[in-house]
């Protein structure tokens, strides 16, 4: 048995392999549930339960919002060859920016737009540092952005425990509640802060057009797929990379603004602001294969998994991190299917 390259797989083969591997993931997942003493069928049903009612769908939507914003930006950054692993930190910086505007500037109709602007700018600035180090000194952005996550994390901890700690919060580590002007409108009783959702959809559409219909996107695609060709053509690689990185950081910052202004209404401990959206969004971007438009599909998909994991946790009192197991198995399955669809298996010796 051996593998040979198959440069041109048929759609049927690709679909079949994806189905096969997803089935395999479900099977393995069943094993995990069994080991935990839960009927796999019941668990599968719970996993999909958010799709069954409006409340569940709202939960999915609320988790989709940050995944969509960050995923769209990351799909661009990855395509251009900037491996931003620090969206989580950029999201937190966005939350900090939002909190600053909400807590320390006089409230007014300009408050929300200003929060998004400053939040996005701080997110961009945060990744901009890593991008500059990469362009100027060749420092691996995978390491720098990853490490910056911790810096951002402890910056937020410091702020909520120190200078920004609320006056009316007793021993809790968070700021005072944002004023009315700094709160995003939501859909009915749900936690769906729709302005941010619109921003996310808009970002995915805009980036898709930018990437595939403009000269800037053309240059980005050249640089991302073949840096040697970009050099040969005399494209300004450093500048192109920097812009793509800044866009991804800006969008992650917006996601952070949405979380604090739309859901928590205050700046609180980083682990509560984001449930690892910055990391889950990497999957959304990876699955979208460098097409921002496809993030409109992959972000809700991961949103279902996150919301379903929440349901598992609540109904079966499984630990919340079971979500990671679910997401991880599905991702492995998708990667496996992808890799195998580009090869053919020869059984004969």
């Amino acid at each position: 048995m051996r593998l040979e390259l198959d440069p041109n797989p048929t759609p049927a083969k690709i679909l079949g392999l994806y189905a096969l591997f997803l089935g395999l993931a479900l099977l393995l997942l069943g094993g995990v549930f069994l080991a935990y003493g839960v009927s796999p069928l019941r668990a599968y049903a719970l996993l999909l339960s958010p799709l069954g009612d409006t409340l569940g769908l709202a939960e999915v939507a609320r988790r989709t919002i940050p995944l969509l914003l960050i995923g769209a930006g990351l799909s661009l950054a990855f395509r251009v060859g900037f491996f931003n692993i620090g969206a989580e930190g950029q999201l937190l910086l966005g939350a900090v920016g939002a909190a600053y505007v909400a807590l320390f500037l006089p409230p007014g109709p300009w408050t929300l737009p200003l929060m998004f602007l400053l939040g996005g700018a701080l997110g961009a600035l945060w990744v901009g540092l890593a991008a500059w180090l990469r362009v100027r000194f060749g420092a691996s952005e995978i390491l720098t952005t990853l490490m910056q996550n911790y810096l951002a994390y402890y910056l937020v901890v410091y702020l909520v425990a120190g200078p920004w700690k609320g006056q009316f919060v007793f021993g809790f580590l968070y700021t005072d509640r944002f004023p009315q002007e700094a709160q995003l409108p939501r859909l009915g009783d749900t936690l769906v802060h729709w302005p941010t959702l619109l921003l996310g959809v808009g970002a995915a559409l805009l980036l898709q057009v930018l990437l595939f219909r403009t000269p800037l996107g053309f240059a980005w695609r050249i640089l991302g797929e073949n840096p040697a060709a970009a050099r040969y053509l005399g494209l300004k690689g450093g500048r192109l990379l920097l812009v793509a990185a800044l866009v991804s950081g800006f969008l992650a910052g917006l996601a952070g603004v949405g979380e604090v202004a739309g859901i928590h209404l205050r700046l609180l401990e980083p682990a509560q602001i984001s449930l690892g959206y910055g990391f889950t969004a990497i999957l959304a971007a990876w699955l979208a294969r460098g097409r921002p438009l496809l993030v409109l599909l992959t972000a809700p998909l991961l949103g279902v998994i996150l919301a379903g994991g929440d349901a598992l946790k609540l109904s079966l009192s499984m630990p919340f991190r079971v979500v990671d197991v679910v997401a991880g198995l599905f991702l492995l399955a998708l990667i496996g299917a992808e890799a195998l669809s580009r090869h053919r298996l020869i059984w004969r010796r």
């Binding site: 198959d6 440069p7 219909r213 403009t214 797929e225 040697a228 060709a229 005399g234």
Partner: protein, 489 residues
């Protein structure tokens, strides 16, 4: 000794080999001749255990064998010298050879060298065992690959395009070595697309075309014309005469110095007139890439370079706009595989398709269609990703894009490397047409015939220094070989 029967190999809808049968006996040299894409490499890969054949049998000394992996091939006594040496540069010759041996987990350097000398006692070494591979010439590296192949005491030795990295003199030495091995009783399979070599070394010649064996001749029956006709399926027209150059000087290079790792390119001076082709030969790594990259704005340099009387800018995008086209050394540098043929044809000029901010793909594809037709690029559609095209067609895409603006200077590096005879002929035709229109061409190539056929003057790079240029009439293959190998005209 070794016999292939009706080997067929398909890759999806593409048939790489169709019912190919070959036989090579003890002490015989069989040449496998064919253009790129004729199926030579696939056949070798099957023989060496990299691919499994879909149909057909392999017989070794009369027994049917299976070759599931390169390791199995070596055990069976089939050894391969790859086209490009696959050695670990930072290690010594002995250490590289050790990779092919079964060794205890710890061993001393002296024990290893002793063992190697004993195993290779029938063969002249030709290189120092303790020398680091990085310091060897291309020919010496190939020698190491050959020694490594001989370590497994093979019965069948496969040489894949062995002369593509060698100077003519080194090639002669390789041929002597092949004769010696032949006398020891090895069966040798010699793969090439160069007719002269094949005629010089082979006992029998099998010609592949389009994956099929189109004929087999003994050395006595074979002559150049027959072989070309078999390879290409038609006879190839000789190149048209190049008109003499004009007076106007296009490029003036004085005392050019290009720093680089190892020895720099230095003291290079020449002038290039309109309608003139200057051919530059050289052993791989003598500074050709550095020279071309410097002029193309990809590498810093010192010295005076003037283009049409003005200092030459150092930015590739500005150079193209001024009329300096560049066919890069590596095809992979000149195209973006995942982007379409139309997009690759617009790689230099894509901004012009977006006067209002959005790219006009309809205009881009319309112009692409004209170029595809004009250059006879074989592609299903302008939207096909370039990575699905064959090497020759990719090269035509690059050529079409670089020439479409009517350049005044063309920097062409290996413009027909790895391209089949038909495509090479078209590339040469295009370059000559450009020259007739008054462009200057700096042609850097490893193919001496190409240089001699196209150039008005020829030069060679030797350890970073330019030898020559001398007029084409004063140059012969032998003279060029001396310029490349010894640095004197």
């Amino acid at each position: 000794m070794l016999k292939l029967e009706n080997i067929t190999k398909r890759f999806g809808p593409v048939v790489a080999n169709r019912r190919v049968s070959l036989e090579v006996g003890r002490g015989e040299v069989l040449a496998l001749l064919g253009e790129n894409g004729a199926g030579k490499t696939t056949l070798v890969s099957i023989l060496y255990g990299l691919y499994a054949p879909d149909e057909g049998r392999i017989l070794l000394e009369g027994r049917e064998v299976r070759v599931p992996s390169p390791k199995a091939a070596q055990r069976l006594g089939i050894a391969l010298v790859p086209q490009h040496p696959e050695l670990i540069e930072a290690h010594t010759v002995a250490e590289n050879l050790a990779l092919g041996l079964d060794l205890p987990p710890f061993f001393s350097r002296r024990a290893l060298e002793g063992r190697l000398r004993e195993l290779l006692k029938d063969h002249p070494l030709g290189v120092a065992l303790e020398a680091p591979v990085a310091r060897l010439s291309a020919g010496e590296k190939q020698r190491v690959e050959l020694l490594r192949a001989l370590l497994s005491r093979p019965k069948v030795l496969i040489l894949d395009e062995p002369t593509s990295v060698l100077t003519p003199k080194e090639a002669q030495e390789l041929f002597q070595e092949i004769r010696r091995l032949q006398a020891l009783g090895l069966a040798v399979i010699f793969i090439s697309h160069k007719l002269d070599e094949v005629l010089a070394i082979a006992d029998r010649i099998a010609v592949l075309r389009g994956g099929e064996k189109v004929g087999e001749l003994s050395r006595k029956e074979a002559d150049k014309e027959t072989l070309v006709r078999m390879m290409v399926g038609r006879s190839v027209a000789p190149l048209p005469k190049v008109p003499p150059p004009r007076e106007e000087v296009v490029l003036e290079v004085e005392d050019l110095v290009v720093p680089r790792h190892g020895f720099p390119v230095q003291g290079v001076s020449f002038a290039l007139r309109a309608g003139e082709v200057l051919g530059v030969a050289g052993v791989a790594g003598s500074g050709q890439s550095e020279l071309v990259e410097a002029l193309a704005g990809l590498r810093p340099y010192r010295g005076s370079v003037r283009f049409l009387g003005q200092p030459l800018p150092k930015d590739p995008a500005r150079l193209y706009a001024l009329g300096v086209a560049h066919i890069p050394e590596e095809r992979a540098m000149g195209v973006v595989g995942g982007m379409s043929v139309a997009e690759n044809l617009a790689l230099r000029t894509f901004r012009a398709y977006a006067p209002k901010g959005l790219l006009d793909y309809r205009a881009m594809e319309r112009e692409a269609r004209a170029l595809i037709e004009g250059y006879r690029i074989k592609t299903p559609s302008p939207r096909t990703p370039v990575r699905f095209l064959s090497g020759g067609n990719v090269q035509k895409v690059i050529l079409a894009r670089e020439l479409k603006g009517g350049p005044r200077l063309l920097l062409a590096m290996h413009p027909t490397y790895g391209v089949d005879v038909g495509a090479a002929e078209e590339v040469h035709g295009r370059i000559l047409e450009l020259v007739r229109q008054g462009a200057a061409v700096l042609l850097v190539s490893e193919d001496l015939d190409e240089i001699l056929a196209l150039s008005h003057r020829v030069a060679a790079l030797y350890h970073g220094r330019l030898v020559g240029p001398i007029p084409r009439e004063a140059a012969s293959r032998e003279a060029l070989g001396r310029m490349m190998a010894e640095g004197r005209a």
